[in-house]
């Protein structure tokens, strides 16, 4: 009995701790002021920019990440495990370290600064810089998932495709991707969610300017000092979006 009571207490603590901040966003000032703050022009600009930049970033992650994950999953080569670790590193890298790293690599004074400059490419303080930061932090979420999915494909299915004379490219496009689609969708949703919440790397690498580099999380931070309700309203929108992402992941994996 004592153990059971302990379990119940622990669960109650966990639920309260995790749920309270999320609930507080919606009830602290009430839904009325929240809804009327959503139309705030700063918030609208920030949400629009967030949707555009995370959308572009996700497209880049899918286009490069899917074939890369296939290669990692279907080839045996020396250093494969080390390579996977490097790819996964941004998952746990502090965003501030990511931001400094991007500046040191792609900033005007960075490793590739002169090369980028020669092509007239300027990333810091630009929308393109936001996309770079989002892509950097979110791509491992997709690649890891896709690699695992491609690695656990039914071998007999792939063998059958080969026996029937299909090239690897055809097998990849016609068999592997359709079969792995739910897992790929999960990875894409997780990557999108991470990009949507990105703060530190974006602020350090791309700065914060309304309509150009100020994504929703950056706008929440800026509005916190002047308009707590507006900051809450924008947070509420992000909570709803994150919830929708999580729900779609659950639905995809439940199939």
């Amino acid at each position: 009995m004592a153990f059971r009571a302990l379990l119940v207490t622990a669960l109650a603590v966990v639920i309260t701790f995790l749920f309270l901040p999320v609930v507080a966003i919606f009830v602290d000032v009430g839904l009325g002021p929240l809804v009327s703050s959503i139309g705030d022009p700063v918030a609208v600009d920030a949400l629009r920019l967030s949707l555009v930049t995370t959308g572009i970033s996700l497209a880049i992650v899918l286009i490069f990440g899917t074939p890369a994950a296939w290669f990692l999953a279907r080839r045996e080569f020396r250093g494969r495990a080390a390579l996977l670790t490097v790819i996964e590193l941004p998952l746990i890298l502090p965003p501030a370290a990511a931001g400094i790293g991007l500046l040191a690599a792609l900033g005007p004074a960075g490793l590739l600064g002169d090369e980028l400059d020669a092509f007239g490419i300027v990333l810091p303080l630009s929308t393109a810089g936001v996309v770079v930061a989002l892509t950097f932090v979110s791509s491992p979420f997709f690649i890891r998932q896709a690699e695992a999915a491609f690695g656990s494909l039914d071998e007999s299915l792939l063998a059958a495709s080969r026996t029937l004379g299909a090239s690897e490219a055809r097998t990849f496009a016609r068999i592997a991707i359709p079969v792995a689609l739910p897992a790929l969708g999960t990875g894409a949703a997780l990557a999108w969610g991470r990009a949507l919440g990105e703060f530190g790397a974006t602020l350090m690498f791309a700065g914060s300017f309304r309509g150009v580099t100020q994504t929703a999380p950056l706008a929440i931070y800026e509005q916190f000092s002047t308009d707590f309700t507006a900051a809450l309203a924008l947070s509420a929108v992000l909570v709803a979006l994150s919830g929708a992402i999580l729900l779609s992941v659950k639905l995809l994996t439940a199939r």
Partner: protein
């Protein structure tokens, strides 16, 4: 066995967590100081020589720290890069009477090396110059906008249009300029000094120079009001004043 061990472990964990929030190992009380980002070097040096307590710092934009106090956070001391924020908090009954403890000078920071795109305030208005500034709500950003408001309208407008990032605190401006991401930024003269050779300062004409006065106050509801008061006193009379002076801050207005 498990039946008794589980709850005991849980209690130990809770005690540990609560214990970690108390004083530090050498028995001195911990005074928590929320301070403007521009005070970082001076306050860290002051903190080392502050005997009455172990000072721990949270540096950020003054507006962010003020908003935290309004939202119910109780550090022991609040030190801002203006007098407006502590005065407002005092009027709201959240902090004791503030004292002005230092002054500073706004300058234009440019990278010490590389192409010198900006040599004067007027250069900031040239097309293609990228400027980093504080956001309008953080003191360093509002001072910069005051300077621009004092310029002829077209010039002020052109410079404002060249601002490409509104950073949450002066540390962000320093970072953008020293990395070359921005060609110039509005910072305090003390920031250029603290950057140790990475930045050069371009002066702002005296006629346009805003009055930059720093204010500090003991926060009501803090854990160690006596040590907090000692910390604030030391800013104008003791080791704090020396540390501020060494960092390039001016004396408070008389």
């Amino acid at each position: 066995m498990i039946r008794t061990r589980g709850p005991v472990a849980l209690i130990c964990l809770v005690v540990l967590l609560v214990g970690a929030c108390g004083g530090d190992s050498n028995g001195k009380p911990a005074v928590r100081v929320s301070a403007a980002a521009s005070l970082k070097k001076a306050f860290e040096s002051y903190g080392k020589s502050f005997d009455a307590a172990q000072a721990s710092f949270s540096f950020a934009g003054s507006d962010q720290l003020g908003a935290q106090i309004k939202a119910g956070v109780h550090p022991d001391v609040f030190a801002a890069a203006n007098t407006k924020l502590p005065d407002q908090l005092h009027a709201d009954g959240l902090v004791e009477r503030p004292v002005a403890f230092a002054t500073n000078t706004l300058v234009i920071a440019v990278p010490a090396s590389g192409a010198q795109k900006v040599r004067s305030l007027g250069d900031l208005a040239r097309p293609g110059v990228k400027i980093a500034a504080g956001s309008a709500t953080v003191p360093v950003g509002s001072y910069a906008r005051k300077v621009l408001a004092g310029l002829p309208r077209d010039q002020g407008h052109d410079i404002l249009a060249n601002i490409r990032s509104n950073e949450p605190d002066v540390a962000g401006v320093v970072g953008k300029v020293s990395q070359g991401a921005a060609d110039a930024g509005f910072v305090y003269v003390t920031d250029v000094k603290a950057a140790g050779g990475r930045l050069r300062s371009v002066p702002i004409p005296t006629s346009l120079q805003p009055t930059v006065v720093y204010g500090a106050a003991v926060v009501k509801g803090g854990k160690h009001p006596d040590q907090a008061a000692q910390f604030v006193d030391g800013l104008t009379t003791g080791a704090g004043r020396n540390a501020l002076q060494a960092a390039g801050f001016g004396p408070p207005p008389r």
